[in-house]
Symmetry: C5
Subunit: 87 residues, 5 copies
Amino acid sequence: MIIGKVVGNVWATKKDETLNGLKLLVIQKKSQKNQEDTFVAADAVGAGFGDCVLIANGNAARKALGKNHVAVDATVVGIIDEVEVTS
Amino acid sequence: MIIGKVVGNVWATKKDETLNGLKLLVIQKKSQKNQEDTFVAADAVGAGFGDCVLIANGNAARKALGKNHVAVDATVVGIIDEVEVTS
Amino acid sequence: MIIGKVVGNVWATKKDETLNGLKLLVIQKKSQKNQEDTFVAADAVGAGFGDCVLIANGNAARKALGKNHVAVDATVVGIIDEVEVTS
Amino acid sequence: MIIGKVVGNVWATKKDETLNGLKLLVIQKKSQKNQEDTFVAADAVGAGFGDCVLIANGNAARKALGKNHVAVDATVVGIIDEVEVTS
Amino acid sequence: MIIGKVVGNVWATKKDETLNGLKLLVIQKKSQKNQEDTFVAADAVGAGFGDCVLIANGNAARKALGKNHVAVDATVVGIIDEVEVTS
């Protein structure tokens, strides 16, 4: 899974019907090399702007939504309280 | 999912029959590091040149086309109205 | 899907039996950043040296071969006539 | 699979219920180019801080947990005793 | 699929039971940009140190082992006799 930060939302009127009702969040991926990349994930746990979150990709993304037919390949599966890292 | 921009089309007469009838769009991937990469996605929502779009990859790409047997690994699943990002 | 160019072949006598009879092509991936990376894809449409081709990855690669049991994760699914891109 | 090092833990009270009871480890990926990237993996073998571990991704990650419905895309599947590499 | 070179072995006593009996090889990925990255693949064709090999990823990796339940996401599916590439 990936650690990222919610930095915004995506709005799309014309979209696949399986995405209807899903909140689509813009996620900034944090990596030690400070290379920043953004992608979009569906929300499954009520995450919002500024939250540090855990994202699952691929089939796991649909497991979190409980719907195997949705056209989603990334989902927020946790709002992180603490990342405890010792270098 | 990935945010990208439709920058063209791909035409292929000799292709897997499951691709017949699908519009194949050239997508330029936008990332904050301004590294530009292009790839091809099938269209599922009527996207066209210049549109800012949302792309799903892997199995999710076939869910959006409603056909699990197609040889597609990336599909445009939304035409983005607005990307609201606060850094 | 990825746009690439067929730049060669791979020959392997000792290989997984599900690969028997498949043509294994060396593909050079084209990306705007001119970062060249090579990988191997099975051929499903009669592609040959120098062809500009469309490659599907993951489960989609096996869909194109019509055999879900083959140990293949990338397949050439189209010979590209034209890539129409307007920057 | 990927070789990595356990460098910490992630705590998330609000998370997908399929993650309940799973230990979520922060993994630092080792690559010869010394590009360090971190990601999160569920633990399936009792790994802990400082361990050199083997991580499986995608569907394989859920196979290791024996539960196909969990929203996990990376799992620690081995604690490495030795990596024998001759350049 | 990926072309790589077998550069070593990984030994792990504490591991997922589905990995028992599998030879775990350290693979160095060759790419034209000379970016070297290493990963681990299970062996399905009797490959050994120094062999130039073909690796399949994801579900294809498990197809080569004939066991869909193993926690493996990369498998050596061929020992390469020759890579014929014309630039």
